[in-house]
Symmetry: C2
Subunit: 668 residues, 2 copies
Amino acid sequence: MAASLPTSVSSATDHVFSIERHEQLQLSPEDRQRITERTKWVLDSPDPPGFRQEIIGSIRNAVFSRKNNKLGSAQPPLACVGEFLSSVFPILNWAKDYKVSMFKNDLLSGLTLASLCIPQSIGYAGLAQLKPQYGLYTSVVPPLIYSTMGTSRELAIGPVAVVSLLISAMCSKVVNPMVDPVSYNKLVFTVTFFTGAFQALFGLFRLGFLIDFLSQAAIVGFMGGAAIVIGLQQLKGLLGINHFTTKTDVVSVLIAVVKSFHDTWYPQNFILGCSFLIFILITRLVGKRNRRLFWLPAIAPLVSVILSTLIVYLTRADEHGIKIIKHFKGGLNPSSVNQLQFNSPHLRESVKIGLVCAIIALTEAVAVGRSFATIKGYNMDGNKEMIAMGFMNIAGSMSSCYVATGSFSRTAVNFSAGCQTAVSNIVMAITVLVSLQLFTGLLYYTPVAILASIILSALPGLINYTEAYNIWKVDKLDFLACAGAFFGVLFASVEMGLMVAVAVSFAKIILNALRPRVEELGRLPGTDIFCEVDQYPVAQAVPGILIIRLNSGLLCFTNANPLRDRILKWVTEENGKEVTKRPITGIILDMSSVNNIDYAGILALEETNKKLLSGGIKLAIASPRWQVIHKLKVAKFVDKVGRDCIFLTVSEAVDSFVGSRFNGPGNC
Amino acid sequence: MAASLPTSVSSATDHVFSIERHEQLQLSPEDRQRITERTKWVLDSPDPPGFRQEIIGSIRNAVFSRKNNKLGSAQPPLACVGEFLSSVFPILNWAKDYKVSMFKNDLLSGLTLASLCIPQSIGYAGLAQLKPQYGLYTSVVPPLIYSTMGTSRELAIGPVAVVSLLISAMCSKVVNPMVDPVSYNKLVFTVTFFTGAFQALFGLFRLGFLIDFLSQAAIVGFMGGAAIVIGLQQLKGLLGINHFTTKTDVVSVLIAVVKSFHDTWYPQNFILGCSFLIFILITRLVGKRNRRLFWLPAIAPLVSVILSTLIVYLTRADEHGIKIIKHFKGGLNPSSVNQLQFNSPHLRESVKIGLVCAIIALTEAVAVGRSFATIKGYNMDGNKEMIAMGFMNIAGSMSSCYVATGSFSRTAVNFSAGCQTAVSNIVMAITVLVSLQLFTGLLYYTPVAILASIILSALPGLINYTEAYNIWKVDKLDFLACAGAFFGVLFASVEMGLMVAVAVSFAKIILNALRPRVEELGRLPGTDIFCEVDQYPVAQAVPGILIIRLNSGLLCFTNANPLRDRILKWVTEENGKEVTKRPITGIILDMSSVNNIDYAGILALEETNKKLLSGGIKLAIASPRWQVIHKLKVAKFVDKVGRDCIFLTVSEAVDSFVGSRFNGPGNC
């Protein structure tokens, strides 16, 4: 082992590429003292926060994180109240800087939104098995409330397809809307109230992380499946079928469609609906190709409604089989406080459906709001959004609205139309209100098939096969959750699809903890860096020493015993190989990946140490993390393995075992 | 920044302790090339095994690991058969080397075992609410089968207290033994069959890891709770109560005891039982103090039985209220094949009880066998043990035995008595058989209170408060699982105790995945090593750069968004501090602890990168693991962040950002 220092830095390059020439110096007493000093750093680290301190800390962070900034700055009470009010109602902040030029943009985008929103709301109300006016009500009150309390500037609020499907699918299991529409309405309003209540609670207690439990992959699959289910249900409108199934799965719907062919059906609905569907899809294609014509697909639904109403009125086609909306009540939102039922036998289901709707509605809105906030470059406070949504839905439940949330397609239209603030939502709400007062009579002759085609035209945006393909490429287990949600919604029910997705996602975490991963490390040539030999084929194993990294984040009861067996088997295998290779005399456990260890993990380490010692092999621990070294000290494992066998880095452990150290420029 | 190389190695010590004097050299082009070269190693690593390959690999490992050693060595068919037979029946291996001297030791230990086993078996049969002879049957057939198929040399097979309690508690819920003892017996035999079937299946399919799901902490709590429940049930025997509750929880038992005081009760049972209990405990104390008198506590139960039988016989105490066993059928094990019921209405419960008993029985036996194998220094094959246990219980179910397993106390006696092989089990079985044939009549006058005191004397060994205290010190969550099992068994039922323990253990894994852990790293003075500043207070942060290590083993949907928010908040906080400090211009993410990442994790990284770039801060990834870098490449994140921002180590990333590198001897 030569002991010559390189004379210049420029020869570093040579050292990188030649394995034979890397200098090894005998370990001097100073080197040993240095290693001991660093081991002392490891063993004398302060105690990590205990279990109780961690819990108190998390609660404190969650509850007090906003107030922390205000501590220490004494403010007059009035200013405190003002600050509180403007944090609850962000409109008080941005309204001060509002300009006339902004209003021009907001007016235009608001009107564009309204033209898209009116036909969609009527259609989505039908999807939720409610009368058409409830969709329009839902586009009045919730956007107004949101514009005062929300922080997103582009988010367009109103009824959306997937939540309408959820309401329809889950509430119709409790009360059949065909049989008892009054009770059904009461149930929907009660569910809306609970949805708002849960959303506000999530925001107030900063439980936003619960929304993350529905992973993005699950959402993609769920939305795709829901879109197909919604599309199949539009067959009722397109074909003009009277009696349809309340079930949502593909098989039941197709059976109902086939059965309907035996009844009388009128192809005119189908032809009318399909023609306008093609019209709307063509305008959308044009709008995509030419960005300046973004308004074309936005007004296409309204144009279709107007045209088809005229056609039916002029040709009296309703007497020839076309189904029309007929009369629906307009006017201001009536109060529905008396329709909220808190002591009905369906209370438990109302709460359950409210929770599911709350999570789905929030997931969509927060995702949409956040992506546009990132594009525009401002910060959106997730918890404030949840509180705003919560209060919006609570207020909506008391004014004949059902669950409203942010819609991606309408928000995109809003953005393209150049909206500046949430005033666009206010403009849209006022426009819808005016229409409710003045124009509901004009929609008497609107064919139901048109609403079906408007809903169908919105569905391709929900089926995100590009993202599903990306998920497949990146993570197969995530794709399993995605597919599970998709097929669950398609073939079982919406709740089943969600449960499958959540179960697969959590099973992924458990599965990750199960697998005992150990990797052999080798030295990268010319360096002091030790890396996995599988990942870096240039890495060379050190003769006589087995360097193993435990790749499990948590060394616990699920993987401790398999890990122990794996290590011991490895030693037996290595020693059973060719005689010319040096037998293993030491094992270095690189614990840099192990963040925590439990009792079973410590027992497994003790057993491994005992067995290795009985075979004359020394065990060393390198790079232990904070919690791990603390627990090893408490469990007296450090004494069992020896204080001289704990090292700060793998490199020092190797040097100590081999008796020499690497020296050269350009290492590490 | 000086550029002088130290002149001698001995000045390394000075460098360790002086922060100001560590040399920084300007990064030369060769240094930059070296860093680029290493980044290339990271980015050009081979693809890790895909999802399908991993699954196929696991299955192959599990199924074929034994046969791998035999591949390539062609053997004649007869030898193959012989090898297969001797792998299934290990007795064929060790019987060849059996010597007369070994038999001397085995005979002695077998007789000692039998003397302890006979009274215990009768007592445990009563605990399982079976007639006394079934306990003795269970000490005949299962040990004989085990001695031919098992690999442990010390394990003493027979009925044990906890499994007897399980059988009694769970089977009596299905069929009340007071009301219908014949059906109860049939149920017990069927359960025993299923227990054996499950154990054999676990062994054959190498599903041994399922046993680990009941963590050691949960076992400690469960055994403690079960011991107290068993002890309380002995009050029935001690107080001579006729009518007792079938429930096992503390409250019901105490109520039954209090109620019994209103009936007539005879204090003689209590006095007799307690006196002999004190006698047995005293002998145990003596045996502990003086290792050479180990046989004293072993024969004490038998001596108590003999003495108390004599006392009752001579004083005719059974006419004065002492409850006695009376007649019980002796003779060879009768066949019970006709009592196994596979198409009864209780089939589902039988299977469920069989599964629970299989897991508990295996956990105890494998733990006991393994600890003694470690002491004696030989290897015990866990899967072979499970197969042996399985067949032993299947055979037992067909010969009037109930679930038998390895008992720690009897194995300890076996070991202390100097047993050499499993022949001690054979000797014990034959002795019990002979007793069944010849001596059952002698036990007519044996008081029931004695059996209760024998069982009570065995219980302190099951309550392991030292280990519970260790668990408390090491891991609070593990202690929660332990306490959950303990109180669940005590106050609800045995199944509830088990379920609570398993639920808490798995919740621990989920909880670990939830918490987004980020730690700031700093440079250890005089080195190139970067460590957590919390764990190593000597570490110094690098000005202008924030080095963050993600401490979650799996960056997934549960912690991805909180992590992103945490990093962004950190940047805002750091930049909001005193003006004199340098603003953050770069963030280095040390991903050495992150073993895997899912789709949500990648999305979170992309969002973080986007936001940081918009704020003019560069993001770098250091030390990515195999799966992580592969997924980052597939998701094109590497291109988004820039190929020049992926580094092999944190040190290189810091050098690259800062523009200089550390140089000095004794680093890393």
